[in-house]
Symmetry: C2
Subunit: 230 residues, 2 copies
């Protein structure tokens, strides 16, 4: 599978412009960001123009999977072969400089380009939809009822092969102008993360009859998904 080692360098779409020292075309760097981001944004052209929408997703091996209703407008365009951009962004912190100009964010961002293909076989669709569940909550697909044939038929699953991608990462403290160091202003950074902001809330409409599983109680963010069996 020679594709597994690409991207090896920039293409016209992935070539990094500003702040190239923050960028990478290494597959491991791209994968690590995809695996750590809870949602991505997918952009494409629909009849009415450019649109970008948030989506749940998962990477498994060389593929990134998204899913949804076959009736959804963007998914229909993607299924039809519309070129797409998939962007996964993780905000890691606020960068506070002594100057407004050098304020920034710490972040990790992976940008993929390509054309999605439809996942057709029921077994592959089940593996992909389980991967999306497990990406958000590691281990969760084993703790809920598996999709039925009817549900799989009602779900459009699309795959984007990772073959044209770049990563960009900013970490650490602020850049400063030398003349600003004598100002009376504080400089530094504040780490941020998407975290549980309260305890798990049991379904109020239908009270669960079991304890909150560890996968939910100890949720600490997305994790890599094991590659589904072929």
């Amino acid at each position: 599978m020679p594709d597994a080692t690409v991207p090896t360098g920039p293409t016209p779409r992935t070539a990094l412009g500003r702040n190239r020292e923050r960028g990478s075309y290494e597959r491991a760097d791209v994968d690590a960001i995809l695996d750590a981001a809870l949602v991505c944004h997918v952009a494409t052209q629909v009849d009415a123009g450019t649109v970008a929408l948030p989506m749940a997703f998962a990477r498994a091996g060389d593929e990134v999977f998204i899913h949804g209703s076959p009736a959804a407008g963007m998914l229909r365009a993607l299924r039809g072969g519309a070129p797409a951009c998939l962007t996964a962004t993780i905000v890691d912190g606020l960068v506070l400089s002594r100057s407004g100009f050098h304020h920034s964010l710490n972040y990790r961002c992976a940008v993929l380009f390509g054309v999605f293909t439809e996942v057709v076989s029921p077994a592959a669709k089940l593996a992909a939809t389980n991967a999306i569940v497990d990406h958000a909550v590691p281990g969760r697909s084993a703790e809920c009822r598996a999709a039925t044939d009817r549900e799989l038929r009602a779900t459009l699953v699309l795959s984007l092969r990772i073959h044209e991608a770049s990563a960009k990462v900013r970490t650490g403290g602020p850049n400063e102008e030398p003349e600003d160091l004598a100002t009376p202003y504080w400089g530094g950074h504040l780490p941020l993360a998407l975290q549980a902001s309260g305890p798990p809330v049991p379904d109020t409409a239908h009270a669960p009859t079991c304890e909150v599983p560890t996968s939910v109680r100890s949720w600490a963010g997305p994790a890599p998904v094991p590659m589904p069996s072929p």
Copy 2:
């Protein structure tokens, strides 16, 4: 300013497809999401195709401001009038159903369409760049050195007027199939939020000579930015 009350209804680009009950075309709903999101994703067409990138931003009144280097490829396309989509997404939680099929996310998402215009006057650029700083850290622009004329000249500021937009929100617990309620699986949701994940980290290259300001120490997310003086 008649624009201030739009959008009043769907356009071909903003018409909600799936799960319309989660959607809104109300300006107050759109504004509230823009004001609560730390970053947005901006998508447009560049020479190489569709691209979507994360950006800091701020809303002030009827405008959304972004900024960056005049040399940045996407900003150059936007400055040149390329139609854009600006999407602000806040992930509010994981929705855990008894079935894999009904797993979901709680989220708030605002999607804007339009063409950016360049902010030209130094005073308006200063107000916009301060708004972006204050959106991320309320009050911060008063706690750092203001931008110089040289810095403002080196910054491209673009404005998108809010005139074609929609909002979509999902809250609460899972949907369930009646036959799944007897399964031994837990159902509910886990609230998530982007939060400080550690204490503020003082600049290690140039140790601050003052205490961490309250704006940073007590950071609790973005806040609406007062409308800049005309």
